[in-house]
């Protein structure tokens, strides 16, 4: 793999010399995610996206070109990581897998499954080309995050290519490591703003012995209340999802996972109707990959809110993670959505938008508090002083 690394290094140094910015790409399945993203199939979005690109790319006038990488400008180059492919080390008894960043996510998942292990954070792929590096850089977790926890909880080590062409290694393959700052976790969800990941070590988990999905017919408020009441109880809940239905008030689905005995006890306590296994698997997969009809909305907001947050009344809603994650098809303006999210102790992201929806001035992600922004700006300056990597994609102006 040395020659691939060498090529990437050359590309980075070249770009630096020529003052081009670098757009990092794994499998390209999450190009929609982040600032100045543009769905290349949606011509109507061109104007609004260009506006954002103009705001956040100060190198040159944006000039979207058809390169497969959205939001490319004439002054930016794509850094493709998909040739960095392959699992480097996986020994099931170590509970860790190390792979090149461009390894297809599905290849990792299949390899783990052969040893009855999995990625507990249940990452969405959003396409067959998704890579492990992209999954970590985006930091997105799926329904299983309810019990599994966020992506950052599982990243043990990373290698990153820096703006001056070096490879830095942070963390490692061991479960506990407090030598130096935990830069590996800083890179989770950083959308490449500090540099491209080249290698990732991720903690894995055993596949649960049994899984079972329960359905409850409940309206939004009751679903939130019951989910909240479960939170502080030792129940083997691995995922929850509530959405409105046409015929009833709404449906809360709860996935239990764990030892057979624990599931039996929990079912007696919780009640509900058991959803047939195949149907349940189809549902949770469609939810994770955003294939449910709910997600066809032209404007999709993602709100992360504090526990106990009531119904928000922002528009059609799908609720996950026991109430903590709310997908909202809101037509309200960004300021309103953000104010509501902040009042609920959280933040709001314009996750996807199609059509002529005007993108928020400060980008799709929630603006950072001043003190936090200062630290982030200094980190960017330290790691990428020239502003080469994915400018503005995560934090407006950085």
């Amino acid at each position: 793999m040395d020659h691939v690394i060498a090529q990437l290094r050359e590309q980075v140094l070249d770009a630096a010399r020529q003052q081009h910015t670098i757009l990092i790409e794994g499998g390209g399945t999450k190009n929609f995610y982040g600032n100045h993203a543009l769905n290349s199939t949606d011509k109507a979005a061109l104007s609004s996206s260009d506006k954002v690109a103009l705001n956040s790319t100060d190198k040159a006038a944006p000039n979207t070109i058809d390169s497969g990488v959205p939001h490319m400008t004439s002054n930016s180059v794509a850094l493709k990581l998909n040739a960095l492919r392959g699992i480097i080390n996986y020994q099931p008894t170590e509970l860790v897998v190390t792979a090149w960043a461009g390894t297809p996510l599905q290849e990792v998942i299949d390899t783990l499954a052969a040893s009855a292990q999995m990625l507990a954070f249940d990452p969405p792929a959003f396409g067959a080309q998704a890579t492990l590096g992209g999954c970590v850089a985006a930091g997105l977790a799926g329904p299983g995050r309810y019990s599994g926890g966020p992506v950052k909880d599982y990243v043990l080590g990373t290698h990153m290519l820096t703006a001056n062409g070096s490879i830095l290694k942070f963390g490692g393959e061991v479960m506990k490591n407090v030598a130096g700052y935990d830069v590996s976790r800083l890179l989770v969800g950083s959308l490449g703003m500090f540099g491209p990941l080249t290698q990732v070590s991720v903690k894995v988990a055993p596949v649960p012995q049994e899984v079972c999905t329960l359905e409850f017919s409940l309206d939004e408020a009751s679903a939130l209340a019951i989910c909240h009441s479960w939170r502080a109880q030792p129940l083997p809940i691995s995922a929850t999802a509530w959405q409105a239905t046409e015929d009833t008030l709404g449906c809360l689905r709860v996935r239990l996972a764990g030892a057979g005995a624990a599931l039996k006890t929990a079912r007696l306590k919780m009640g509900g109707q058991v959803l047939p296994e195949a149907q349940a698997l189809e549902y949770w997969t469609a939810l994770r990959e955003q294939k449910l009809s709910f997600f066809t909305t032209p404007t999709l907001w993602r709100l992360a809110v504090a526990p106990g947050t009531p119904v928000l009344n922002l528009g059609p809603t799908l609720i996950e993670w026991g109430g903590g994650q709310r997908w909202v098809a809101s037509v309200l303006d960004a300021t309103t959505v953000r104010r509501v999210a902040e009042q609920a102790g959280g933040h709001a992201t314009l996750f996807r938008s199609l059509g002529d929806h005007t993108l928020p001035d400060q980008g799709v992600f929630h603006p950072l508090a001043a003190g936090v922004l200062d630290v982030v700006a200094r980190l960017k300056q330290e790691f990428d002083p020239q502003g080469l990597f994915n400018p503005g994609r995560l934090v407006h102006g950085l």
Partner: protein
């Protein structure tokens, strides 16, 4: 570890200290400032008393505003600040700076809020780890990270060190159980990292802050994630006639898809040291014993205990005992948790290491440590988190003999370097502090150390918070002479060699 040698200079008395104390008295009430040597000396070291230094002054603020004022004052005067929680740390991370101010957070000892339905507690940094679990126990909750020092250590210190404990294999380290930190930067600004929501906008600063050893900011409030107490917990105690077999058994438990609530190993040296003291009923004839805990519902635990026993039998266990009552379970754990005091009974001094290695190398490294006992002519007991591969070799020595101090340090360094060699790390949960700063040169390249410095600068541009810890200077690494070698190339080619 007991008193050994006084390494650093004692407090600089004179105008400089007087200026600092005078300035501190402008922003703090007199009873919050200690400056006479007899008052500051008790703060000269943390749990690692090998490294000592008396600070210019000790401040014990009572409010967040006072913390802000102290930091602003110290920044203005360009005076280093070292934070201290309960002082139980084992790596010298809270050792004062001789030309600096020690900021003690002992008075920040309130549990501010418990939301039992949301399973969240908001606490001040001086609250003791165990006090959190005790306070939330009536709601059927507990705080999962449980370092052995939990009766005394504080949450602020846990955040600084990213503390673990015997239950972190299943329930995670501090970084997995802290939702939000409110801190004061060196410039006196209040910054909140993390959120009660599942995530927060922007890069993951909270994870960098946790485990940063007091070098990025001073914590004034921590929001903790609480865990529902399981209905039942039981422990299997398995004896092995060979350390290698016990190590294999650890891997086999994981291979069987079991994540035990705790999975700990004690070697013969350790059980023989602990048993007369605690009378836990350990098999002192075994070369190693494993303590393996299952928790959950009654039926779940019953099933899992059977599966654990089957794995151990197959792995060649010579004896198996399962706790039948809660008091028996606690007795089994008592020996493990009291290993350090027990070491203090059998040896005048002990030195506790903290390397972590991939589990598959457990047998190899434990056998290598046995060989090192002969090489350094020194005893070493092993009591550790086998499930995480986190070793805690306890090197027994007598500080009255300077030669033993030196050998103990060399023995420890050799163990840590072996940990790095097999793909592990020099510290799993105790932190680098002063103690392991030389070994950082072995684990990281110059550029990686520079990256840590970059992170430090981003939070603390003037480098005044707990300076000279964790990140070794280029010069120190050169003097230590053990360089990180990558791809056959030395990490510091620009420096002259001997």
């Amino acid at each position: 570890m007991n008193a050994v040698s006084e390494q650093a200079i004692t407090a600089v008395s004179g105008p400089e200290a007087a200026v600092v104390v005078h300035a501190l008295l402008q922003v703090l009430p007199a009873h919050c400032v200690l400056s006479r040597t007899e008052d500051t000396r008790p703060y000269e070291c943390d749990g690692l008393s090998l490294y000592r230094s008396v600070p210019m002054a000790v401040v014990l603020p009572e409010t967040e505003a006072q913390v802000q004022a102290v930091l602003k004052t110290c920044q203005r005067l360009n005076v280093p600040v070292v934070a201290r929680g309960a002082g139980t740390g084992l790596s010298g991370g809270a050792m004062p700076h001789a030309q600096g101010v020690l900021l003690g957070l002992a008075k920040f000892n309130r549990i501010k809020h418990i939301d039992h339905a949301a399973a969240i507690a908001v606490v001040e940094p001086g609250v003791r780890n165990l006090a959190v679990s005790e306070a939330v126990s009536p709601f059927g909750l507990y705080y999962a990270p449980d370092p052995s020092s939990q009766i005394a250590c504080s949450i602020g210190g846990n955040v600084a060190e990213n503390s673990g404990g015997v239950h972190c294999l299943k329930y995670g380290l501090t970084v997995h159980n802290v939702l939000k930190v409110r801190m004061v930067s060196m410039s006196g600004e209040i910054i909140e990292l993390g959120s009660l929501a599942p995530d927060s906008a922007g890069p993951e600063l909270l994870s960098v802050f946790v485990g940063s050893e007091g070098m990025l900011g001073i914590v004034t409030e921590v929001t903790l994630r609480l865990t529902p107490k399981p209905a039942l917990a039981r422990v299997v105690m398995a004896s092995f006639d060979d350390v290698e077999k016990a190590s294999q058994a650890v891997a086999q438990i994981i291979a069987a898809g079991i994540i035990p609530a705790g999975l700990e190993m004690m070697d013969k040296q350790a059980t023989q040291m602990v048993e007369p003291f605690v009378k836990a009923g350990y098999d002192t004839e075994a070369e190693a014993i494993l303590l393996c805990e299952s928790d959950g519902t009654v039926d779940e635990v019953a099933d899992e205990i059977i599966r654990m026993q089957q794995v151990f039998e197959k792995a060649g266990a010579t004896r198996l005992q399962v706790s039948q009552t809660e008091s028996e379970r606690l007795r089994f754990w008592a020996g493990r948790k009291n290993a350090f005091p027990a070491a203090g009974r059998v040896s005048p001094d002990y030195y506790c290491m903290d390397g972590t290695i991939p589990r598959r190398h457990l047998g190899r490294v434990l056998n290598a440590i046995k060989d090192m006992e002969k090489q350094f002519n020194m005893r070493c007991a092993n009591v550790f988190h086998a499930g995480d591969g986190n070793l805690h070799p306890l090197i027994l020595f007598n500080s009255n003999f300077p030669d033993e101090v030196r050998r103990a340090e060399d023995f420890g360094a050799a163990i840590l370097e072996l940990c790095v060699e097999v793909g592990g790390t020099i510290t799993g949960e105790h932190g680098v502090g002063m103690e392991k700063i030389n070994q950082m040169c072995v684990q990281f390249s110059r550029e990686e150390l520079d990256a840590f410095t970059a992170v430090k600068r981003a939070f603390d541009p003037d480098g005044l918070l707990n300076p000279e810890k964790v990140i070794p200077t280029l010069r120190r690494c050169a003097e230590y002479g053990k360089m990180h070698v990558h791809g056959g190339a030395l990490a510091f080619p620009e420096l002259p060699r001997f």
